[in-house]
């Protein structure tokens, strides 16, 4: 018998048993779809975290306060830091060679109020150098000036989301906002930059002069009674000079902080490589976790497919007996079940791929409090889940058919 005949039989059989066919396909759809969705969402999380750090720039060193009692290098968590840096340190560091920009930045969460409306944002106390480091573009007005810093002026630059949320289409420049019940005049607004870190959008930022931050908003003193600086971003001329510049910063700050001999540093110089190393560890854990999820869901999906194929083909042993009794050869039976299993697994697998990709896309649209988790659907997982499901589907569909086709017709007919 020709393939056309087997195809006719296979298609007739699938159509005659719509419920069985759809249930089998559903098993495959869920198997393939869930693997693709889970892995894509996980990879999205991974990519979001990595890119947030990569945005920081590779020629940027961070000088941060460090508790000298603490073991280890440094921590990203401010809770472990005691204030040790000051604006004097910033001025002292101006002597370091190969430095393009020095930008002290203080940071805290804050509520911004205009009239009766308020919203949360990220407050940065900064100097004019801030913008060279953070790479924002002005949308209107101007940035913080040296004069603002010297005068502890009550001026503020708004991030694009803050501006649109509080002023709609109106230009906020010249308007007043309140931070901690104090009036600030808006002098400029920023273009949208996109991106987020730890759930806070980069466009939810408000920037005031660092001196204003230190004296009027979040005063904090070092042990010597000076206004504290939370971090100093150091932009260097070339990434190859990282080690040299780091050494020089350490020498100058140690002298400036009067640290001698065995005294431990009360600050840390963190290179992007070190940050990426820590981020790398985080994403490695995440990736391992993801691999586990993918493996488990692929296993569960495969068992589901295997289960439904084994059951639906085994219960058709009698049908195989009927077919053999009227003259079907073994290869006719095998070809029919192969074609049926192929049709089910390919169509089911295809729908599974489509629904996995669509679901990942839909989940990417969800607003998770200010930022979105963009799923990363990569071809490898699509190909892997599709081919594993098809292999499992064909193998577990063919095995009982192969077994039944070897029986005497009468034994297949009497199969219970």
């Amino acid at each position: 018998m020709k393939v056309i005949g087997s195809l006719t039989i296979a298609i007739r059989s699938l159509l005659a048993n719509k419920l069985r066919s759809s249930l089998t396909m559903l098993g495959i759809i869920i198997g393939v779809g869930s693997v693709i969705t889970l892995v894509s969402m996980g990879r999205g999380a991974d990519a979001t975290i990595t890119s947030a750090y990569e945005d920081l720039g590779h020629n940027l060193l961070q000088v941060m306060p460090r508790n000298p009692e603490m073991k280890g290098g440094f921590s990203l968590s401010p809770a472990y830091a005691v204030p040790t840096l000051t604006m004097d340190d910033v001025r002292a560091l101006e002597r370091v060679r190969h430095v393009e920009t020095l930008a002290p930045i203080n940071e805290n969460f804050i509520t911004i109020t205009v009239g009766g409306e308020s919203k949360g944002g990220l407050l940065h106390g900064a100097t004019p150098e801030y913008n060279d480091v953070m790479n924002y573009t002005l949308a209107s007005g101007r940035f913080i000036t040296d004069r603002n810093v010297a005068g502890r002026d009550m001026v503020v630059v708004l991030g694009s989301k803050v501006a649109t949320d509080l002023f709609d289409a109106e230009d906020p420049v010249g308007q007043q906002i309140k931070l901690k019940k104090q009036r600030f005049t808006v002098v400029g607004t920023l273009e949208s930059k996109g991106g987020a870190m730890f759930g806070v959008s980069f466009d939810d930022v408000v920037i005031v002069p660092i001196t204003t931050y230190q004296t009027r908003l979040f005063p904090q003193q070092t042990a010597t009674g000076k206004d504290a600086v939370a971090s100093i971003s150091v932009q260097i001329t070339s990434t190859e000079l990282t080690d040299e510049v780091t050494d020089e910063i350490e020498t100058i700050l140690r002298r400036h902080h009067r640290l001698t001999g065995d005294d431990k540093n009360d600050f840390a110089v963190v290179s992007p490589e070190q940050v990426m190393e820590i981020v790398g560890q985080i994403t490695l854990i995440l990736s391992g976790f993801l691999g586990l999820i993918a493996g488990i869901s692929l296993l569960v999906g495969s068992i589901g497919i295997m289960n439904i194929m084994l059951v639906s083909v085994t219960e058709r042993t009698r049908e195989i007996g009927i077919r053999k009794a009227v003259g079907a050869k073994r290869r006719d039976i095998l070809l029919q079940f192969l074609l049926e299993a192929m049709a089910l697994t390919f169509v089911g697998g295809g729908i599974g791929v489509a629904s996995g990709i669509s679901l990942s896309f839909l989940l990417s649209q969800l607003d998770l409090g200010g930022f979105k988790l963009a799923a990363v659907v990569s071809p490898d997982i699509v190909v892997l889940s599709f081919s594993v499901s098809i292999f499992i589907g064909l193998a577990s569909g063919m095995y009982p058919a192969w077994r039944a086709s070897r029986l005497n017709p009468i034994d297949a007919l009497h199969y219970e």
Binding site: G5, I322, A325, V326, G327, N408, L413
Partner: protein
């Protein structure tokens, strides 16, 4: 037409050996209509299955139309089941959720050939079931299902029709109709062997072979 020589069938059930058939030797001529009778367990169904190549004898030689079947492989036996023999079961054995005409068409798909649908409809007409051709087995009465099964047995113009208690699940009126169809087919030249335990039905054939405990107890012409 059919020559059986010392056909023996032994089943192994665990350590038990069941002798279902012990040295059956029969000759059936072309155009004969034969009834196989005997109590249940006498081996008549086993013999039918061997005659229809649904099962293989443990020992013995089966020659169909001069061809020694014991030398044939599975594919050749499938061709014999398809072209030479029409088998009718007590429990009909139709494909569920499949229309009558598609069921009848099945042997033609495996046997090849053209105009399958027309030939299937023609076979249904021979058993008087033209109007019900698109009904599924569940929508048909027992008698109608058995007619579909007979049409399926007929569709490839076999020389031999084997019927294993074809009326076992039917009422007496329907039984008479089905037996009449077999009589008609036999008059058209097809050799018919049917298993029954009803002596009334056996008496409508030309020859009665009685089995007892896997052996032939009697073999006589109906007068």
């Amino acid at each position: 037409m059919i020559e059986l020589e010392n056909i023996t069938k032994i089943y192994r059930m665990g350590k038990m050996r069941v002798n279902a058939l012990m040295g059956i030797t029969i000759n059936i001529q072309p155009g004969e209509m034969v009834a196989l009778i005997g109590a249940s367990g006498s081996g008549k169904s086993t013999l039918m299955n061997i005659l229809g190549f649904l099962d293989k004898p443990t020992v013995g030689k089966y020659t169909l139309e001069g061809v020694d079947a014991s030398r044939l492989n599975d594919n050749k036996l499938a061709v014999l089941r398809n072209k030479k023999i029409g088998f009718v079961f007590q429990s009909f054995n139709l494909l569920p959720r499949t229309s009558a005409v598609s069921n009848v068409e099945l042997p033609l798909i495996y046997g090849g050939g053209r105009q399958r649908r027309q030939r299937a409809l023609a076979a249904l007409e021979r058993v008087g079931l033209t109007e019900r051709s698109n009904h599924k087995p569940t929508e048909l009465s027992g008698g109608e299902q058995q007619r579909v099964a007979i049409a399926r047995a007929l569709v490839n113009n076999p020389t031999l029709i084997l019927a294993d208690e074809p009326t076992g699940n039917l009422d007496s009126a329907t039984t008479a109709e089905i037996i009449a169809i077999f009589g008609q087919l036999n008059r058209e030249g097809i050799t018919v062997v049917l298993v029954t335990h009803e002596i009334d039905i056996a008496n409508q054939t030309q020859r009665i072979i009685r089995l007892l405990d896997g052996k032939i107890a009697s073999d006589e012409k109906v007068t």
